[in-house]
């Protein structure tokens, strides 16, 4: 038997050059991922530590139960409720518009629209999402409010209703686009199963396609809610900036976001209690959106798609 030809064993070993290249690429990717996580934690750290200073002056109990928010007045009150009510009411008005309309548009585009209509309608709808929010704000103040006043003469010049309605219109494309994507990803053979026993398009859309894409639809709704809660410009322009503890959308009020804008623009001395309030307000906003994100995550896990 002939002995096999031998080579230097080194040819099979790790190459120093390749290792270095791979390692450095890996490191670069890691740093990019790490950076975004780091920034998130840095923001949370900042909010919590600055809020801590605020809560040394104001008790959490007062913060949560006082019904007035007047941190810049001589008679200072630090109740977050008026800001929370403004945020909740304007968001609810927006969602009453955005969720149903967004869903209906998605059902139409995904299940009914002919190919040509969808190809034209989708970019236009997405364009609606690209309009700067400050434009929406003025649209609310200068067009929607006067229009509403012809129907509801007692409506003030600034109102949560007007801001919420326009915010809803603004959020429709986000909801409809994501919902449509979710519905379109349902495989055709599932639809055919429904059509094959005599279902109409609408029955198929509502009873088969929507349940099959529930997690995607839930994610779209959660995104819509987060956007409504975090929206600043429209409410700052059209809802007035007075913190009022109201649950009536026909009143002017401030939201958490508009308050932060108001204070950030003013020249309050760094470290004063008035300055610290914006961190406490920011932390409240963060917690609110965190709750919705966790809810969305749970929904996604609960109804994940299986085909």
């Amino acid at each position: 038997m002939a002995t096999p030809e031998t080579r230097s064993p080194k040819s099979l070993r790790h190459s120093y050059k390749r290792n270095l290249k791979e390692r450095s690429i890996e490191m670069l990717l890691f740093l990019a991922a790490f950076f975004s996580v780091f920034i998130t934690f840095a923001i949370i750290y900042l909010l919590i530590s600055e809020s801590f200073i605020f809560f040394e002056h104001v008790s959490i109990w007062e913060f949560l139960t006082d019904t007035q928010w007047t941190p810049l007045f001589d008679d200072a009150h630090y109740g977050i409720l008026p800001l929370v009510s403004g945020t909740v009411v304007s968001s609810l008005v927006a969602l009453v518009i955005a969720l149903p309309f967004g869903t209906i548009i998605a059902i139409y585009l995904s299940e009914f629209a002919p190919f040509a209509v969808r190809e034209i309608a989708k970019p236009f709808l997405e364009l609606l999402g690209g309009i700067p929010t400050v434009v929406y704000g003025y649209f609310a103040l200068l067009f929607v409010t006067p229009l509403l006043q012809t129907l509801l003469p007692e409506l003030p010049g600034f109102s949560l209703l007007s801001a919420g309605l326009v915010m809803g219109i603004m959020i429709i494309p986000y909801v409809s686009s994501m919902t449509e994507d979710a519905m379109r990803s349902v495989p055709m053979h599932l639809r055919e199963g429904s059509y094959a026993i005599g279902a109409t398009r609408f029955q198929t859309a509502v009873k088969v396609v929507m349940p099959a894409s529930l997690s995607g639809i839930a994610a779209a709704y959660i995104l819509g809610i987060s956007r409504a809660v975090g929206e600043t410009m429209v409410v700052a322009i059209a809802a007035g900036m007075q913190p009022n503890l109201v649950w009536n959308p026909m009143e002017p009020a401030a939201t958490i976001t508009t308050y932060i804008v108001q204070v950030s623009l003013g020249d309050l001395p760094h470290g004063s209690i008035g300055y610290q309030t914006i961190f406490a307000a920011g932390l409240t906003l963060l917690l609110l959106t965190l709750v919705f994100n966790i809810l969305g995550h749970l929904l996604r896990k609960r109804y994940r798609e299986i085909y």
């Binding site: 055919e192 199963g193 429904s194 059509y195 094959a196 005599g198 109409t200 009873k207 299986i306």
Partner: protein, 265 residues
């Protein structure tokens, strides 16, 4: 090859549907050419032929599935009895056709619902609301699909938790629940293992006296085992149609013989 049905009785049965000069086009591509065929009532008719021969396309004409996609065109007639109406006519509502001619697909496609709701789906979309009727019909359909014993204690479970073969029987139960006149099977066992395949074939044999069946299969042994009539298709044309034992033992056409004996395809 085992063939176990008497061909003499087959010739006595009534016509359920007659296909006259059927042409079908995907856009400008002609997928079916001048097809003439008879579907006999409460018999199993198998459509065989090599891949791309148009057998699934032909099957899907029977419940107007092609209407779901643009640029599809039918020419010719599929007459359905006892109505004596051409179901391909523009005046015929495809939804009405599908109410009476249901379909089971290649890949099991249960809905993301419970086992019970999957079978009840066809009844619910027809407006059946009363719980007692739903329960009775669902149980009947599951019994006819030979699935009742396996699922009767977990009707509320998600259909996805069933095995592939069980899912396919569930889809058959779903199609049976609404008492269709014709049941279309599009390669119903091609995604299943041999044991599940055997149970579906047995089921199709059991169903032959209850409902008219059309089955597309690429498996010739399956066609021989389950069908009373066989149609051999090639390149969009119907080459030969006749009683299954004739087709398999004494085909008239050379092309059919080549395919069946495995010299081609």
């Amino acid at each position: 090859m085992q063939i176990f049905k008497p061909s003499s009785t087959a010739t006595l049965t009534a016509q359920k549907s007659v296909v006259n000069n059927l042409n079908f086009y995907y856009g400008s591509y002609q997928a079916l050419k001048n097809i003439d065929m008879v579907v006999y009532e409460k018999q199993v008719t198998a459509l065989i032929g090599p891949s791309g021969c148009g057998k699934s396309t032909f099957l899907r004409c029977f419940n107007r599935m092609h209407d779901l996609y643009p640029h599809n065109n039918y020419e010719g007639e599929i007459i359905l009895y006892p109505d004596n109406e051409n179901i391909l006519s523009r005046e015929v509502d495809p939804i009405e056709v599908r109410m009476r001619i249901s379909m089971v697909f290649q890949k099991p496609n249960p809905f993301p619902k419970s086992i019970f709701e999957n079978v009840a789906y066809g009844l619910r979309i027809r407006g059946v609301k009363r719980r007692s009727i739903l329960e009775e019909k669902v149980e009947n359909a599951l019994r006819n699909a030979a699935l009742w014993e396996e699922v009767k204690d977990r009707l509320g479970d998600l259909a996805f938790n069933l095995s592939g073969g069980q899912q396919q029987r569930l889809c058959i139960a779903r199609a049976l629940a609404t008492d269709p006149e014709i049941l279309l099977f599009d390669e119903p066992t091609s995604a299943l293992d041999p044991i599940a395949t055997a149970s579906i074939e047995e089921l199709i044999s059991d169903l032959r006296n209850k409902v008219t069946i059309l089955i597309v299969t690429h498996n010739m042994q399956q066609a021989a085992r389950v069908s009373d009539y066989t149609a051999y298709m090639y390149m969009g044309e119907l080459i030969e149609f006749g009683a299954t034992d004739t087709i398999f033992i004494k085909p008239k056409n050379k092309k059919t013989e080549d395919y069946i004996t495995g010299r081609f395809g």
